[in-house]
């Protein structure tokens, strides 16, 4: 019975069917299935599958994003149940995401946020045009282990360096790790500004985040 349900759960994520994923999550509660099992044996299997398919070039961004959204919705249903049991899904890490000040591009950053959430990270996405103090302030407030910064413009990518320098000044590193991304961002740039890493795409960003937080 539960095996069949797990399969349906994975399938709902693979197909990006948010409503079905929510229904299945509710059904699992009615059936008294353990919410952690529901997540790890059901929904996560779907997210992993679609991530792998994306890596192979078989799945595309809309499928990836819809899967991530469905995953978030399902987990949102199950989290209160976990709390009732006095348990929590293992949080991979708390992440603050933002596009730096002066830059209003957010497609890439939002994709990274979706994929991180789907992979078990707790993501606070501050949005675009965020000054250093806001990013750092939020990271302190939620005790984040990781900051992810996006910049699409060469004129704004220098802001990434400012945030890192400010973090260093306040002695917040290496406690808080920093990953940077965006079209003009190269490995050289990431090294130059002493970021902890960069990735070319959202799936790679999840792997990077896991590696930086020792969750591989």
């Amino acid at each position: 019975m539960s095996e069949e349900l797990y399969k349906q759960m994975a399938q709902s994520i693979i197909e990006g069917e948010k409503e079905i994923a929510i229904e299945l999550a509710q059904k699992s509660i009615e059936l008294n299935m353990h919410p952690l099992d529901t997540i790890t044996k059901g929904f996560v299997v779907g997210v992993n599958y679609i991530g792998d398919q994306f890596g192979l070039g078989e799945a595309f961004l809309p499928e990836l994003v819809m899967a991530g959204e469905a995953m978030k919705a399902a987990v949102a249903v199950l989290e209160p149940e976990l709390l009732k049991l006095g348990e929590a899904r293992e949080v991979m890490g708390r992440v603050v995401l933002a596009t730096v000040e002066g830059d209003i591009h957010e497609i890439g950053k939002t994709l990274v946020g979706t994929m991180l959430s789907a992979s078990g990270f707790e993501v606070t996405d501050l949005g675009v045009d965020q000054p250093a103090e806001k990013i750092i302030g939020k990271a302190i407030e939620i005790d984040a282990q990781l900051i992810g910064m996006s910049a699409l413009l060469t004129t704004t990518m220098i802001r990434q360096r400012e945030v890192i320098e400010e973090l260093d000044k306040e002695g917040l590193r290496p406690r808080i790790k920093v990953m940077v991304g965006g079209a003009p961002i190269t490995k050289d740039w990431a090294e130059k500004i002493k970021a902890d890493g960069t990735s070319e795409d959202a799936v790679g960003a999840v792997q990077l985040a896991k590696r930086l937080l020792g969750k591989e």
């Binding site: 595309f60 961004l61 809309p62 497609i107 994709l111 060469t154 079209a183 003009p184 959202a202």
Partner: protein
């Protein structure tokens, strides 16, 4: 007859406009600029003070559309009208704002500095296919605060052609307008015969940022032409359907025109963009995709239904090298742009999603442009009879008969575009003897020739000095002691820096 590519029926254009007007009301447009919101509010738009979303009624937009000039020209340094914005005139200029340049020897994408921009200007100056220059790359050897004004300064100094440019801040747009006024001989003169046009970009979906709105207002009041570069990314920052994305593009343009005309009715503004699909595998914005060109052709048709001057971004490639992909994407999209009758088509020379420039590619693209321009010149009637007049008593049924006719000599240049040496039509043996060069290698040879044959235009000495002094002050305010030393040709120029 200028051949035209038509993608939309009149019915569909009507529906696009109708839905664009609906979008302007609901959800409305986010206008993050106080003055722009005030202008819209006092015209009767409803403003949500908390979200900065403005709901713009159709009649305000229609009124703005009435006051927009249907055509205007950009002028060269000598005051000749060179670029016509309006109707189905077609012009090309190199792409703008690259951050890298292909090194023809190492094939690396080098970070751009003054020398790179100078090289591109010199090459484009001598290629007649480019009716205008662009401020093609960012010069990273000057501080960020002057990177926009400095690019314009170099273009004004090293070219006589009209210039497609853009400002990075609201402060610099005023400075750049001052620079134009210095060379024109005053702000009135700069307005009467505009030398440059400024790109202004709304942010998809349906956002006019503080900076972009501010630029629109400043340009309108100065009477210097503005060019809206709306960039719907179909499937990410705009609807995935081409028609949906074109409708959003229409709404963004209409909102921009309204702000602009409310600031100063009658100021010149262009319906333009860098519309593009969103690549669902790489999350990229492919400029070489055929759907990208279809979006542009479509929005140009919408613009033309309103009698608006037009601009687009085509003739570029996403390839990292000047290779077969670069050739086919640039050539095909340039052809589509020309067949769409778009007034200014920016993008030539560019690789890698508009981030990297190449002088060699400019040379090759010039041939694609020449083909496109030949295409839209159409099949012409040159003679009284179509053919019978060519067959006189001297015809002896031999292959070379027509080579001997005077009319062949008179007309072949009109009928045929004569390509540069970048196009190979040599015999196999000659091609081998010439070194078996491929397109890129042949383009390198031509770039070297153009750099050698370039001579800096002679400008009015007093104006040039004034421009120099103006730029030097900006540079000093930005923390530089002097402007970057440019190469030896400019000994004369460099001395001004020390004045």
């Amino acid at each position: 007859m200028q051949p035209k590519l038509i993608l939309l029926t009149e019915d569909i254009i009507e529906r696009i406009l109708d839905e664009a007007y609906q979008l302007l009301l609901k959800p409305g447009v986010k206008v993050n600029n106080d003055e722009a919101r005030e202008l819209l509010a006092s015209a009767g738009a409803q403003v949500d003070a908390e979200t900065n979303v403005v709901h713009i009624p159709e009649q305000i937009v229609r009124k703005a559309l009435e006051s927009v000039p249907r055509e205007f020209y950009l002028y060269d340094y000598d005051g000749n009208p060179v670029v016509k914005y309006g109707g189905d005139a077609v012009h090309f200029d190199p792409g703008s704002s690259g951050i890298a340049m292909l090194n023809p020897e190492t094939l690396e994408h080098d970070t751009t500095e003054s020398q790179h921009l100078l090289k591109l200007i010199k090459v484009a100056e001598q290629l007649p296919q480019y009716d205008a220059q662009s401020t093609a790359v960012v010069c990273h050897d000057v501080p960020q605060q002057i990177q926009d004004s400095y690019r314009l300064y170099l273009a004004l100094l090293y070219s006589k052609k009209p210039i497609v440019t853009g400002a990075f801040t609201n402060k610099t747009v005023a400075e750049m307008i001052d620079m134009l006024a210095i060379l024109a001989g005053g702000h009135d003169a700069a307005r009467e015969k505009p030398r440059a046009i400024f790109d202004v970009c709304p942010a998809p979906p349906l956002i006019w940022s503080n900076f972009a709105s501010g630029n629109l207002i400043a340009l309108a009041r100065a009477g210097i032409p503005a060019e809206i570069v709306s960039v719907p990314l179909a499937g990410a920052a705009a609807p995935v359907t081409l028609l949906g994305a074109v409708t959003q593009h229409t709404a963004e343009c209409l909102a921009g025109i309204t702000i602009h005309q409310l600031a100063k009715a009658g100021s010149p503004i262009v319906w333009g963009g860098a519309a593009c699909i969103f690549d669902m595998k790489k999350g990229a914005t492919p400029m070489g995709a055929v759907e990208t060109a279809m979006l542009d052709c479509s929005y140009a048709q919408v613009a033309k239904s309103l009698n608006m001057p037009t601009h687009t971004y085509l003739g570029a490639t996403d390839s990292k090298l000047v290779d077969a992909q670069a050739g086919l994407e640039s050539g095909i999209t340039a052809m589509i742009g020309a067949l769409s009758g778009i007034n200014m088509i920016s993008g030539s020379g560019m690789l890698d999603f508009l981030s990297c420039h190449s002088a060699e590619k400019l040379v090759i693209d010039a041939e694609g442009i020449a083909m496109a321009k030949r295409m839209i010149a159409g099949v012409q009637l040159h003679t009284e009879t179509l053919a019978t007049g060519f067959y006189d008593d001297n015809i002896n049924f031999k292959g070379g008969d027509f080579l001997k006719q005077r009319i062949t000599m008179q007309l072949f240049r009109k009928e045929q575009h004569l390509p540069s040496n970048v196009i190979d039509r040599d015999s196999m043996r000659n091609w081998k003897e010439a070194g078996s060069l491929d397109t890129f290698a042949r383009a390198k040879v031509i770039v070297d020739k153009l750099l050698a044959s370039y001579s800096k235009p002679t400008l009015d000495e007093a104006k040039e000095k004034a421009l120099h002094a103006f730029m030097l002050v900006l540079a000093q305010q930005a923390g530089m002691d002097a402007l970057p030393a440019l190469e030896n040709v400019d000994k004369e120029t460099s001395t001004h820096v020390n004045m």
